[in-house]
Structures are given as structure tokens and as C-alpha cells.
Amino acid sequence: MNEALAKLYQEVILTHHRKPHHFGPLPDATQQVRLVNPLCGDEVTIAVRIDQDTIAACHFDGYGCALCRASASLLTLSVRGQSLEAVRALGHTLLTFLQADPASQTPEGIGDLIALCGVREHPSRRRCATLPWEALLTIVDDATE
């Protein structure tokens, strides 16, 4: 595996891809959003239970590539128990980071999500990683309007 590929498919990504967290429907969801990636037809559904401006639970479902699954799995871990405000900030920080130049600095506070950084060198795959976050931000934006 060459360098660019190793950076894209880091072990963290492959682990989440093989065994994603919180995969499957969330029975008592209060909100959910489904997004489709027109490039590949992939789809991801992000479902959350919001309780007093906090994300009490978050699941994802759908069909996607390793990048999309890993991104969604990481998402469910990093937003659980967080306030909507914090999640919104995190989401925007991450999207900006992933869409930036590969040479740009890593923002603070994104934790494990740094593992997604390889998509910056693969513009055709960027959307795979951002799709779950776009879905989540749609929910958060709606909920805080």
C-alpha cells in the first residue's frame, strides 16, 4: 500500500469500516435525515435522539464505502452527549478542514476525526467522508432554528 493510500485508509478508518459503531436504526429517534451521494448512489441516514439541546443518542444506517461508514461511525462516537451548539461547531470545523488544502493546519478539538484527513488529497472521495456530517448538520440547524 503506497503512502497516499495508507493515509486515506488509516487503520482507524479500516477498523470503523469493518466494525462500525451505532450502525442500524435508532428506535426512539427524535430526528433523522437521509442523504444520497449522486456520484455513487450511496446513502446514509443519521438518526438522533435530542434531549434538552443535547444529543442523547446517535445512530447511522445505509449503504456506503469505507470512508463513509468510518466517518459516520466516528460521528456517532464524537457527538453523543454533546450539546447541539458544540456539535454544530465541531461539524463546521470538520467540514472546513476536509475541504481545505491538504497542507492546511489541523484544527483543535477534532480528536479521532483527524483520521479522515486523507480525503483532502482525494477530491473525488471527499464527499464520502462529509456526507454523514452534512446530514447531521441539517438536523442540528433545524433543531436550533
Binding site: M1, N2, A4, L5, L8, Y9, L14, H17, R18, L39, C40, G41, D42, Y63, G64, C65, A66, L67, H122, R125, C128
Partner: protein, 413 residues
């Protein structure tokens, strides 16, 4: 191992892209290009012709009286005759230059569609079609209050003449069908289908985008009314498509796009249009690109399309056999005659991850739905990896592909 005849190896040197490309910066391996169905690489003779057209006869066609414009016009019209000969058309005035297969189909959907499709009529397409030969008809049916009827493929994605026969009736005004699938490579029995259609008075439109680079095509033998294809998929430049139509029918169609070059006279309230083919060629065409297409046709004919077909059949068969040996790999699509386009899925690995991982090794393949959503829906498959070959590919390249696939499978699972 079946070795390709030596002269096919030698042909690789004709394609500058095959030696020039590195995959990612720093990678010095030559490109393994397995995406010919998306667009083919261009031989040097085509690029040379393109350059000489841009330098020696860079002029607009059909109107100038100076040497460059007359030469451009002569060459441009010469390519029209070459195209007619390539597809065994009875005359060259029924060869219309467009921007691509997509534009050819849109032209027909508007011009022919408005003429022959009335509310309540049926327009027949198939589940095998590329979106470019599906959406224009869907849109036509919608706008004319007609019914879009979709002939079905079987669970392997096979389209049989029988499936078409089932849907044909005297209500079927048009039938649009592909000559070869851009997903499975399946070669369709267009001749039988056109015979069936004729029995119902149905006009036939064949999408030859995936055929003309791979096999001898005779519109006379196929018996179709219209045949459309793209230059860029047959070693030619971008920006050029062809629409061939039976002259007697084509002549009856009204113009679609209007503008310079397609009129006889313009008055404030009405205008008289030119005869075919010019009536359908409004605006400045891609002059140099059309001229360079002539070099692509000469190149293909220089090898011989039957020779190409035979070599590609060897490659296709061998590739399918070797792919089958990759653990967890499942070929998509029917057995049987085809162009060298092969789709598969790799167990537990998403097609886009396969394609990205291959790209990192300098192997260019395509992943996804390949602009053929109805087919994937019918087969119940979420997407595929597509390997599309040409006579310039080698068994060594396929070996490299297969061993990469073995490693990729292990990595992701």
C-alpha cells in the same frame, strides 16, 4: 497464459498517454488504463491531425473562400464520408455531427419525438440503457403525454429480443436500445430487435457509443433507423458525436437547434432551413476535432475492426477467467457475446474503495452506477467496479490488476 500478438504490444507505443502517465506524483509506473468505456486514449496520429488542423486549416467551415477555410471544409466533409463508410451507411448526407451521443439522442427526442409521438402513444426503452439513452425518452414521454415503456432485463442484466417483443405493439412509436451495454459489455442482437420493431412500424434508435470502437458496424445489416455514437470513445477527440439516420426519414425531421449555418434565408417572421445534414448543424462545429476524428477512423480501419474484435475477445475472455479467481469477486452481467467491458463486485469492499485503492497503484477503473441506474435497480446491485478494455491492454496488465484486487480484498475485510 495467452500472449497477445506482438503487433498489439507494438500498438501501445502509438498512444502517448500510456507511457507518459504516472499515477500519483512520484509514482513512475506507467498508467494501466482500464477505463476505455468512459473515454478512450488517443493515438498520436489523432493528436497530430488535431494539431495540423488547428495550425494549417484553422478556419470556420462552409463559408470562407480562402485556402484554409476551403481545406477545412474539404476535410470536414471528408470525415463525414469516412464515417458513412465506417458504419456502412448508404450515403454521407445522413451523417450529422453533434457534440456527443447525448446530444444526438436529445436531438432525436425533440425533433423526431415531436413529429411522431402523440398523447397516448408509447416510447419503448430498456433497463439496460445509459442515462443518455433513457432520460431524453423519459422526458419526451412526459412532455408529450405518452407512455414510457421499459423492456426488462433478467436477473443477470441480460436483454433478450423476447423482452422487447413482449412490449412492442402498434402503439410503440419509437424504440431506443443500446448496441452494447456500458456496464456488462453485453452485445445486443440489434438486428432481430429491429426486425421485430419494423413489424409494428416502430422507428428504431440504436445507441452505438460502446460499439463503434470494438466491432465492425453496418447500419444496413442492423436495419435500424438511427444510430448514434461519440468520437471520444473511439480514439477520437472530445466534443464530437454522430447521429446517423435513414436519409428518407431524416429529411422529414424539423430542425432542433437553430442559428448560423442551418438556414437558407432568414426573414423577420420566418426562415427557410437547409437540407440534411446541415439543417441539424447550427453554429460553428468542432472543426478541428471532426477533422481529427478522421485520423481515428483511419487508425481503427488500419488495424481492422474485425481484427480488433478478435483480439479484444481474447482479452475479455481471459480477463473474466482471471477475475473469477480473485477471492470474493463476483462478475456482474450475463455470459455471451460482448464488448470488452466487465463489471464486478468484491465481497465486503465498496466499489469506490476498490477503485481508489487501484488508482493508488496506477490502475484506472471506474466504480459506481455508470450512468445506468435502471439496470442496477433491476439487478438488485448497489454498484460495481468496471474494467473496460481495448486492444492496447495486455494480459500482464490484467495480472497486475488481479493481484492488486487480491490484496485489496484482504486489506478491507
Amino acid at each position: 497464459m495467452i500472449a497477445a500478438p506482438l503487433d498489439f504490444y507494438a500498438r501501445r507505443a502509438d498512444f502517448p498517454a500510456l507511457s507518459h502517465h504516472a499515477a500519483h506524483s512520484g509514482d513512475r509506473r506507467p498508467l494501466i488504463y482500464l477505463d476505455h468505456a468512459a473515454t478512450s486514449q488517443k493515438p498520436q496520429v489523432v493528436l497530430d491531425r488535431l494539431m495540423s488542423a488547428y495550425i494549417e486549416r484553422c478556419a470556420n467551415v462552409h463559408r470562407g473562400v480562402y485556402a484554409q477555410s476551403e481545406a477545412a471544409t474539404r476535410d470536414f466533409e471528408g470525415v463525414r464520408r469516412q464515417i458513412a463508410a465506417l458504419i456502412d451507411a448508404p450515403d454521407s448526407q445522413s451523417v450529422v455531427f453533434t457534440k456527443g451521443t447525448t446530444e444526438s439522442m436529445n436531438l432525436l427526442a425533440y425533433s423526431l419525438g415531436q413529429c411522431v409521438v402523440q398523447p397516448g402513444d408509447e416510447v419503448l426503452v430498456t433497463q439496460l440503457e445509459h442515462h443518455s439513452n433513457f432520460l431524453p425518452w423519459q422526458e419526451l414521454a412526459r412532455s408529450r403525454g405518452a407512455k414510457l415503456v421499459v423492456a426488462q432485463v433478467d436477473e443477470h442484466g441480460r436483454l433478450s429480443p423476447h423482452a422487447i417483443a413482449q412490449k412492442l405493439s402498434t402503439k410503440t412509436k419509437l424504440l431506443a436500445c443500446t448496441h452494447a451495454s456500458n456496464v456488462t459489455g453485453e452485445l445486443i442482437d440489434v438486428r432481430s430487435i429491429c426486425q421485430l420493431a419494423k413489424q409494428h412500424g416502430t422507428i428504431t434508435i440504436i445507441d452505438g457509443a460502446q460499439a463503434t470502437a470494438h466491432l465492425p458496424v453496418s447500419v444496413r445489416e442492423l436495419g435500424c433507423d438511427f444510430y448514434c455514437f461519440s468520437a471520444h470513445k473511439m480514439l477520437g477527440p472530445f466534443g464530437v458525436g454522430i447521429l446517423w439516420g435513414r436519409a428518407a426519414l431524416l429529411r422529414t425531421l424539423p430542425a432542433w437547434q437553430t442559428g448560423g449555418g442551418m438556414v437558407l434565408s432568414v426573414r423577420e417572421t420566418e426562415s427557410d432551413h437547409q437540407s440534411i445534414p446541415h439543417r441539424f448543424e447550427a453554429g460553428t462545429p468542432a472543426v478541428a476535432e471532426v477533422i481529427a476524428l478522421g485520423a481515428a477512423v483511419e487508425y481503427l480501419q488500419g488495424i481492422g475492426l474485425s481484427v480488433i474484435a478478435a483480439q479484444e475477445e481474447i482479452l475479455r475472455t481471459e480477463t473474466r477467467a482471471r477475475l473469477r479467481q480473485v477471492p470474493g469477486l463476483r462478475l456482474i452481467g450475463p455470459e455471451g457475446p460482448g464488448v470488452p467491458v466487465i463489471s464486478f463486485v468484491l465481497d465486503g469492499v465498496h466499489p469506490h474503495d476498490v477503485a481508489t485503492a487501484l488508482a493508488a497503484e496506477g490502475i484506472a477503473v471506474r466504480a459506481g452506477l455508470h450512468c445506468a441506474e435502471p439496470l442496477f435497480a433491476a439487478m438488485g446491485v448497489r454498484g460495481s467496479v468496471r474494467v473496460s478494455l481495448s486492444f492496447v491492454n495486455t494480459i500482464e496488465e490484467i495480472e497486475t490488476l488481479c493481484s492488486a484486487l487480491v490484496r485489496i480484498g484482504a486489506l478491507f475485510r
